[in-house]
Amino acid sequence: MLAKKTLELNPSHPVMKKLLNELKENDNQLSEASKEYANLLY
């Protein structure tokens, strides 16, 4: 039995702010570099 996971993001962290801004500016798309970074964080 695996644990059910909930991912919680820290809204005051600079990286999260940057990712949110990028999504807003690019029609909900992230660049490959940002995607990689988001994966790395997870």
Partner: protein, 134 residues
């Protein structure tokens, strides 16, 4: 323990050092909450069956349903606003990770860490999963 702390909080892990390094512990300590550090594997089994002790709920801070931090109305409104503001990012993460996570949301439990994976209220904790795999 704080007078208004109606929940006994704990965090389990392999060693005391690793538990003390957890990014979710910081804010509880900062706000004056006492958190039990449980580093013995048997603790995890015990707490699975101990939901209440002396009329106080017993909860792991690694589970998503613990909501003792920032419990006033202003903080709740602020969190709600942040959830709306960050919806594009939470939606993106949910789409991107698919079935790997059950839910993506905004946290009021983190200070320095960008994100954290909590376990659901009723499922296994991460530590229990680790024990079962061993």
């Amino acid at each position: 323990m704080k007078d208004d702390q109606d929940t006994i909080l704990y965090l389990s892990g392999d060693t005391k050092d690793s538990i003390l390094r957890s990014p979710i512990l910081k804010k509880y300590i900062k706000q004056g909450f006492e958190v039990l550090i449980l580093d013995d594997p048997i603790d995890e089994f015990t707490t699975q069956h101990l939901s209440e002790y002396e009329k106080r709920k017993v909860k792991s801070i690694s589970k998503e349903d613990v909501s003792v931090l920032d419990n006033d109305e202003t903080a709740k409104k602020k969190l709600q606003k942040l959830k709306e503001m960050y919806k594009p990012l939470t939606d993106w993460y949910k789409n991107h990770l698919g079935k790997n996570v059950e839910k993506v949301s905004i946290s009021n439990k983190l200070t320095d860490a960008p994100l954290f994976i909590f376990t659901s209220q009723y499922g296994y904790s991460a530590q229990m999963e680790k024990i079962n795999k061993a």
